[in-house]
């Protein structure tokens, strides 16, 4: 292994990338543009002053507890609460949510305030659209508010009999049974229903930027690498590859030089784009820098290997260009970089998560939305590692064959 040769090849790759202004635009500017545009299209944006989403409340209770329930929603910067003093059918609530008239519809029956005071139990009906992150957020806010009120009601029942107001010195002995009943069988329950398109209860993301940011970082890392496969074809055609072969570089040095050159470009691009996304869109990549580094390194390694493999398979530059773009599009779409895997049917989710793009973005979702660390990321990182090893082995074998007499 000749480190000087490998270093020279990595340096050459960086130099050529830096001198290519159009390439730099595609590396760094376009991903940010795509992140912004797709974030807008997905209907959820946290920075700036986005239009407020409407939550329609059909209030048949009209008691003071309703205002307490809705207070966090009214205080939320992203929601506008519209209270209607009438009832609505299930179909009406679904239609309103489906046609975009509301991001969520909450129906509060009469007796809600009474339930808060220890009266009969009531069920609130919430209709949301699982495809919209704003719907999920509204549900989360209402859930928390109701939990707070139920907890308060349960606590209150411990110090005063139902229907009475506790006096200043009215402390009763703590009653485990009453507390358990109050906690496990709350007096006010939220029955939520979605439009049935998306089971997203557990993905943990609250903003579209949390998906589109990392997704377009991965997409453009892969795109840049795959499109640069044509450089290897060009080097073969204009005989710079032959000139490399008769230098002091061994076949191993050439494979290592091409691979590491691609990896360094991918890592620089990935690091800069993730940083820009964090600054521009306030993204937080979770609490595990090790897992974050691992997924970016592994994905860059895969992308660099894929670029070499494509460069050795394609016969012409345009062929490499076309195949590279097509493969990136396919891996991006099926692997959940264009839209979250969570919104596609289960069998497509299974296919997506078998792909390197699906594995990488799923790790990002875990890091950002569910607080994953290395342990939780390990199975998907393993899958990504398998992709890297297989593609690298094929790429190295083909390149070695092409540079050997």
């Amino acid at each position: 292994m000749n480190l000087q040769v490998i270093g020279a090849m990595v340096r050459l790759r960086l130099l050529r990338t830096l001198r290519d202004r159009a390439g730099l635009v595609w590396m760094f500017v376009m991903p940010m543009v795509f992140s912004y545009m797709m974030g807008m299209l997905m209907g959820d944006w946290s920075n700036g002053s986005p239009p407020k989403r409407r939550v329609v409340v059909y209030d048949q209770d009209r008691g003071p507890a309703v205002e307490r329930l809705l207070a966090p929603l009214r205080a939320h910067e992203r929601f506008e609460v519209v209270v209607v003093d009438s009832a609505a059918t299930d179909a009406r609530a679904r239609a309103l949510t489906d046609n975009g008239g509301a991001t969520a519809v909450l129906r509060i029956p009469s007796g809600f305030t009474g339930a808060m005071a220890g009266g009969a139990k009531v069920d609130l009906q919430l209709t949301v659209d699982g495809n919209r992150l704003s719907s999920q957020t509204a549900r989360s806010v209402i859930d928390r508010s109701l939990l707070r009120m139920n907890t308060e009601q349960a606590a209150r029942s411990l110090v005063a009999a139902p229907g009475t107001t506790p006096g200043r010195n009215d402390a009763r002995a703590f009653d485990d049974k009453s507390f358990a009943e109050g906690w496990e069988q709350p007096r006010m329950r939220l029955q939520a229903s979605t439009l049935g398109r998306l089971p997203t209860n557990d993905w943990g993301l609250t903003r579209s930027a949390q998906h589109v940011g990392p997704a377009y970082v991965l997409f453009f890392m892969l795109m840049f690498m795959m499109v640069s496969a044509k450089d290897l074809v060009q080097e073969r055609q204009d005989r710079t590859l032959a000139r490399l072969v008769i230098s002091r570089a061994s076949a191993f040095d050439l494979v290592a030089g091409y691979f590491l050159g691609g990896m360094v470009i991918g890592l620089v691009q990935g690091a800069i784009l993730l940083g820009m996304n964090a600054l521009a869109f306030g993204l937080d990549y979770g609490d595990s820098p090790a897992a974050l580094v691992a997924v970016v390194v592994m994905f860059a390694a895969f992308a660099s290997s894929a670029s070499i493999l494509l460069g050795t398979l394609a016969r012409t530059g345009p062929q490499a260009d076309g195949l590279g773009s097509g493969l990136t599009m396919a891996l991006g779409a099926v692997g959940g970089l264009w839209w979250p895997l969570e919104v596609v049917p289960p069998f497509m989710q299974a296919i997506g998560k078998a792909l390197p793009t699906g594995q990488a973005i799923s790790i990002f979702h875990g890091l950002v939305g569910r607080g994953w660390g290395l342990g939780e990321s390990a199975p998907l990182l393993g899958g990504l590692a398998v992709w890297f090893v297989v593609v690298f082995a094929l790429a190295a074998a083909r390149l070695r064959r092409q540079v050997s007499a």
Binding site: Q4, Q237, S247, A405
Partner: protein
């Protein structure tokens, strides 16, 4: 310096190089002359360790190219027919890269790059992207890039293809300069005037076989009575011309090629007035009359039955 014995290289059933043998002495400028597809580039490919031979043996500086490619690569530089450079980088960056790849670095590399840019008359354009260069400038940079590590042997594969006459002259001057500095050069071309002008010895290659080998004079002497007088006549008068020529002293034969009559003679100067007299006597024009002295073109024609340019075009 270079020994080639019975070299064979096949592509499938096609023998691109078929039993070629020659040797090149240290410091010699050796030309490999032949049309496109004759086997020149394949021969260079094997000699420069890029292709594996199917038969025969090649030794460079005492090292076998098949078993000691690493040692051979230390001795050789290759200038491919293509512009094997990174045209999106400057001339300076290209040479620095190729230098680093050959283990050079620091001040020695910077100095070497400066020397080569000066040698190629590119010092003023050193920081310009190669893609903005003219064809001749690109060719000169392509050539000196093969010299960055100061090789003992340089393979030049048609280094003047596709450039204008002025640029070609500059390249040929550069190569002549390298020859004078004692570099061993193998130079392939299908331009016979380049081979005549530059090379100490020439190997003529045709369809994978070496059909002639020697210095220019010895090759031409193989042709013998090689002066050739060409003339255009109406086809109906060819027989009459042939009959008359049989009586002329010094005329050793009359052939026909592409509608022209070709008269062979050891002394074209003596036979020419005789032919002119016959043409006048027969009221035929004198304009289409030309005399050709023996050269590599006639040698190639004699050896292969085809002109170099015919195959090259």
């Amino acid at each position: 310096m270079i020994e080639v014995r019975d070299l064979v290289k096949k592509y499938g059933s096609h023998r691109a190089v078929d039993g070629v043998s020659f040797s090149v002495a240290r410091g010699e400028l050796f030309g490999l002359l032949g049309p496109n597809g004759a086997g020149k580039t394949t021969t260079i490919g094997v000699l420069s360790t890029l292709l594996r031979a199917d038969g025969g043996q090649v030794r460079i500086g005492g090292h076998d190219v098949a078993t000691a490619a690493k040692d051979v690569r230390r001795l050789i530089g290759v200038v491919p027919q293509e512009i094997a450079l990174y045209t999106d980088l400057s001339a300076h960056d290209n040479l620095m890269f190729w230098g680093r790849l050959h283990g050079l670095g620091g001040a020695a590399l910077t100095r070497r790059v400066g020397d080569l840019l000066a040698m190629a008359d590119l010092a003023d354009a050193a920081r310009r992207k190669v893609e903005t260069f003219s064809g001749g400038m690109q060719r000169r940079l392509n050539l000196v890039a093969g010299l960055i590590h100061e090789p003992e042997v340089l393979f030049l594969d048609e280094p003047t293809v596709g450039i204008d006459a002025q640029a070609r002259t500059r390249i040929l001057e550069l190569i002549a300069q390298l020859g004078r500095q004692g570099l061993t050069v193998i130079y392939t071309t299908h331009y016979l005037e380049e081979a005549e002008q530059l090379c100490d010895r020439i190997g003529v290659i045709d369809r994978g076989r070496l059909v002639a080998l020697g210095d220019k004079e010895s090759l031409i002497s193989q042709i013998g009575d090689a002066d050739m007088i060409r003339l255009s006549l109406p086809a109906a008068r060819h027989e009459a011309f042939r009959a008359a020529s049989a009586t002329w002293e010094g005329c050793t034969g009359v052939g026909e090629r592409r509608g022209k009559l070709e008269v062979r003679t050891p002394d074209g100067g003596r036979l020419l007035p005789v032919i002119q007299d016959w043409l006048r006597a027969n009221d035929l024009p004198l304009e289409q009359l030309e005399i050709e002295r023996p050269n590599l073109e006639t040698l190639y024609l004699n050896l292969t039955g085809r002109g170099l340019r015919e195959d090259a075009s």
